[in-house]
Symmetry: C2
Subunit: 511 residues, 2 copies
């Protein structure tokens, strides 16, 4: 089944992925492309949305899209930078505003009888985030909404299905943002809302069957949501031709290997558990540099996985749990490729020498969509609700060199923290949580004795996509109890700190 | 003027100092002595209080005081362990209670017409903390109060001024505890309530004048409350014969040397400021071990102070800001001396070779009393409200080796944190606060760049005496803003954690 789809042109805004997700929440498929890489099959998209940008249309770094095959030829919604771009380069004027307009505002004027604003009333709250402002509308521009501070908050172009808004409908604080996107996409652009988790499963299963046929597929399970959902999808498509390998790298959470393996077997997956803990720990001896540790863990995984894959005969395909944010090409401030922040454990996958073709059934969907697809597939909600856990596991949560004893300490600390979150009903309010073992000793007192032991840092963040994250305001009583439990029960730890840094400028993981 | 005084015999309870402070709040002077070192001039005390203890009267480690010169000879109040001791070894019986009785309880019975309970009504809340319980009263014991769970909550001995209570009147949760102490000390024992901050100042000034005469005195000012109050007291007593030296060890807070020096001069003190920052930093080069750092700082201070003192002629006395908790002899579980937790910067003072006699005007009073005395002397409340700051300063808050650059970073971080506490009205709710620079780098993102910078830990504790301390539940918004400010404004720091460990088992400072 062919679905209507939306093209989102990215100008580097932190909110671009949010636009794509809001559109998809309307059961309409959307794709993100860099503003300067417009797909040649532009006719396959029924509408286009231009994102915001950290850049100014007035500067040398202004980003110029080639819109000749889009503008006035198909419905287009220009958001923030997009709206300013259309104004500034088509007969209007953009100027710096006296102050950066950031935060909540309310629509004080809405033009009557505009389909674009159907079911949205005067007073509706919108989210602003811009330092330039549109002084005069472009040629044929018609004002359709204002706020108290921003006269030209929304306009359309007479004679085109072109709409432009200064505010961000994709941000939750824009309370009618979803309605507005629906008005534009469904009422104005005529797109069908038939892209659902059920249809995704049905079509993906068919696509896998067509692609893979009767070939054998090998998949590395990690215990995480992505690889699990990928496995269940593949299992539904090709049954026993799917061979899963679950490697214990010795850096998993306490008891995780045994419990997850049992869970997989209960789901009818064909899984081989491989305990390679000692091999990994041996490869890590003496390594302190985070990148060297990552590489040692990655290389060991490849070796172990390769060994196991070779035991299978006639495998043609390697399946991976890659998801959409891993493959979206990002836009930097200069329009060039953006700097790599950290070597990622998913993108790039395994090296060429494995000679396998790649199948990535989740490549087109976001994390929240993976969870919805998983639910449609009947996967245990507890498993679907698991926090993300980095590939190198506790290996990058033990700062400095790694020993079996440090892993044991951190597993105990982590278990107290994570089980505590579950007991207190806090686990599902947190996007990701864990503990770091710091290479720092500090003084303490136990009874009449002086201690000089390790410090652990607890980390719990809220996020919608892992790209930005706020530290969670966990209850005082919870932190107090958890800190006491850790210090009293885990030998070798006498101090606990809580990470109060947001991402950016910090990151979720420390290494 | 001679004041009536109370002897408190310590059996190692965590609350012993609280008993002394509650008594003093009644304007009655009290002294603490170990249970096995009863003063020979016992007749100079008008009443005796026996403290609680972590030990059991039933065990091999039971602590046995020699009470023959006290019991039935002068009024005696036995608290918790004291009450159990009197019962168990004088014809009564103490047994383990089925559960540890810990927390709030209410008096369900009070014997009528007992002066001991005057102005205290049935239902009054008391604080329990014991695992043994008194099953039968000692010979001549008369029950005078009960709670629902503890039948023998209070008794007296017929024919003696001996009273015994299972609960802790010294703890704030015993809401009528102060009234009870007043009933015992004033109504039953007849002590006068004339020991006040004013009388303390008057008598101490007279005592200093008598002791020191026309001799010159040298005093090391630290910027802290104790040395400042000591200096003002001495200044009042001997005027220009007091020579103060304020050393900048290069490990003070941001701008502290200049601002405190100015403040001292405004108070009319004869102060010489000595900037020895480089000398200290040089002595610290390459030292990572906390004890070695402490010693290097201590030795440098002695050298600098000695140099300066030698520039003065005919100085005979060294004044110090030693306070009562520094000199109370403590009792360990076995009755022997307790283990040293950390080398303390005050007790012991400077070495013999300085050949000066010691004058310590605050030796008899607690920290809160030092503040009240300071207020009576007219010292600026802001200066009196300053948090304690350890002698080695930032030197033990920079974990690992110390460099000028690290000092600069930590001074900036500390200033943001401490000024923030003041701006948010939180400073006076905190006993002690500061920042630690950890020798830990972690990953971060700034703009499109990857960072790999230092982590700082913030610490803020509530305490009444520094002996035990809880971490403070600072507001989320405050921590969020402070963390952002630090990371955005202090180059070299990309992560902030908050210490959520209590003392014990952690300590306030990390090194």
């Amino acid at each position: 089944m062919q679905h209507d789809k939306v093209l989102i042109l990215d100008f580097g805004s932190q909110y671009t992925q949010l636009i794509a997700r809001r559109v998809r929440e309307l059961n309409i498929y959307s794709e993100i492309k860099p503003f300067n890489k417009i797909p040649t099959d532009i006719d396959s998209y029924k509408a286009v949305i231009l994102s915001g940008s950290p850049n100014s249309v007035r500067g040398d770094n202004a980003l110029h899209p080639e819109l000749e095959n889009i503008r006035a030829k198909k419905p287009m919604l220009a958001v923030c930078y997009g709206a300013q771009y259309l104004a500034h380069f088509s007969g209007g004027e953009v100027a710096p505003s006296s102050t950066r307009e950031y935060g909540r505002a309310n629509l004080s004027f809405i033009k009557e009888n505009e389909v674009f604003f159907e079911n949205i009333s005067k007073g509706s709250q919108v989210w602003m985030s811009h330092s330039d402002t549109i002084k005069t509308l472009p040629t044929n521009g018609v004002l359709i909404a204002s706020t108290t501070d921003v006269a030209n908050a929304a306009y359309k172009i007479e004679g085109e299905d072109t709409y432009a808004i200064q505010f961000h409908p994709e941000v939750y604080h824009s309370t009618d943002g979803k309605q507005l996107l629906e008005n534009f996409l469904v009422k104005i652009s005529g797109l069908k809302q038939d892209w659902t988790p059920d249809s995704f499963v049905e079509e993906t299963v068919a696509a896998i069957q067509e692609k893979v046929g009767n070939d054998k597929v090998v998949l590395g399970l990690s215990g995480g949501v992505d690889s699990t959902v990928a496995a269940v999808l593949l299992n539904k498509a090709i049954g026993e031709n799917l061979y899963c390998i679950f490697v214990n790298n010795g850096l998993l959470r306490k008891n995780e290997f045994e419990s997850v393996l049992k869970q997989y077997e209960g789901m009818g997956l064909n899984v081989k558990g491989v305990d390679a803990s000692e091999r990994f720990l041996k490869a890590l001896v003496g390594l302190e540099d985070p990148e060297k540790k990552r590489k040692a863990i990655g290389n060991s995984f490849i070796e172990v996985f390769d060994d196991e894959a070779h035991k299978l005969t006639d495998v043609k395909w390697l399946a991976q749990g890659t998801i959409y944010p891993d493959v979206i090409e990002s836009v930097s401030a200069t329009g060039g490729p953006s700097a790599t922040i950290k070597s990622h454990h998913n993108v790039g996958g395994l090296p060429d020498f494995m000679k396998l073709k790649i199948v990535e059934p989740l490549r087109a969907i976001f994390k929240d969509e993976v969870r919805r697809v998983g639910a449609t597939l009947g996967i245990d909600p507890e498993l679907l609700g698991r926090h993300p856990f980095p590939g190198p596991g506790l290996g990058i949560r033990i700062l400095g060199d790694i020993t079996a004893e440090k892993v044991r300490i951190l597993q105990e600390v982590d278990a107290i923290f994570i089980n505590g979150l579950k007991e207190w009903g806090l686990y599902d309010k947190v996007w990701q949580a864990g503990a770091m073992l710091l290479p720092v000793n500090s003084v303490g007192v136990m009874g009449d004795e002086r201690t000089y032991e390790k410090c652990v840092a607890l980390r719990a963040v809220e996020s919608t996509d892992g790209m930005t994250a706020d530290w969670v305001n966990l209850p005082y009583e919870f932190l107090q109890k958890t800190s006491n439990d850790i210090i009293n029960k885990v030998k070798g730890v006498n101090r606990v700190v809580y990470d109060i840094s947001s991402k950016p400028p910090a990151t979720i993981e420390w290494e």
